[in-house]
Subunit: 216 residues, 2 copies
Amino acid sequence: MAAVGKPLLFGYFRSSCTWRVRIALALKGIEYDQHPVNLIKDGGQQLADEYKRVNPMLQVPALRIDGVTLSQSLAIIEYLEETRPSPALLPRDPVQRARCRIISDHITSGIQPLQNLAVLKRVGEGSQEWAQHFIRRGFQALEQLLQETAGRYCVGDEVTMADLCLVPQVANADRFKVDMSPYPTISRINQSLMELETFQVSHPSRQPDTPPELKA
Amino acid sequence: MAAVGKPLLFGYFRSSCTWRVRIALALKGIEYDQHPVNLIKDGGQQLADEYKRVNPMLQVPALRIDGVTLSQSLAIIEYLEETRPSPALLPRDPVQRARCRIISDHITSGIQPLQNLAVLKRVGEGSQEWAQHFIRRGFQALEQLLQETAGRYCVGDEVTMADLCLVPQVANADRFKVDMSPYPTISRINQSLMELETFQVSHPSRQPDTPPELKA
């Protein structure tokens, strides 16, 4: 596997799936360039022919790395973990690894897809309530699960893949004005994570394509 | 890690997420017992307090194995792969592994969640068209991706995790009467996979909780 230049991340400052990958790259200390893809402008630049050649899934993120272009945030993170194992984003014990993946999949399959832009467009009227409903349903289960797995972070006291999914989803909940008081464990972990430099530099408010009025 | 009796799968014959795990167990030659959870009866047995103690996510599948209970189909499959590596469900090469996970995540995050029972109930009127829309959108991208990765199966000529996601999703497409003619690669791979004994015994028509009128 030849390293071919600096990795290039195709993403959008506000996309929670892109944010997950930005945190992974920051935690692993991988330098990369960004190619912003604006999901709003021109009816969605991810739908343009130019981007279709990058990622036929027409979604962000995509990461050009090691001479290939990968999509799907968790697949990208697992690839980074396998090719650049240190620092680890998954524990060594198989059951603990499973717990990280359960939390990650719960967020990335059970919550985020139901409140993403394309789905809410399709919902139309009442889309805010729709998003709130599915975030609340997902957080209720997640809160219970975390009570069994959490230490300082989602699974024990080390940052794992699960945490990379948690923080962007909490930010989405905030955007959709979900009352977080029923989820003290989620809120507490989110707060601990947001104290970390790697999560701060990856934040949507600090990206090259962040509009000036939203810059931190 | 002590092996504690035979693994017990909590699932539903028609659940595509449960089906993925049944195929994994069959391919790895793992004997297991089934505990059916009827998603329709009694307003959904997965919502009952009894099941909440098994899986706070209130979803099937859940697998009790090695003294723990795991949920989320892909997390379960990755756990089986790590603890029972042979036969492998992921290739050895990191890029090929990533391709398997991209296809798997695309189906499990990008398609299935948008056409599952709870979501379609919430959609109400027009739910069939809703499901068709998101399956078609997902299959269009998947067809293109598979043209780059497929051999006899989704990634090359060996059965991988991606195939475990593909077959149940094609069955869902069939239930929602999606015209499959624009997706010749998906259809061809599905057909090849359905010739395999492991996929046949895992089929919804051959489970302990399959209603008599749907039994194969």
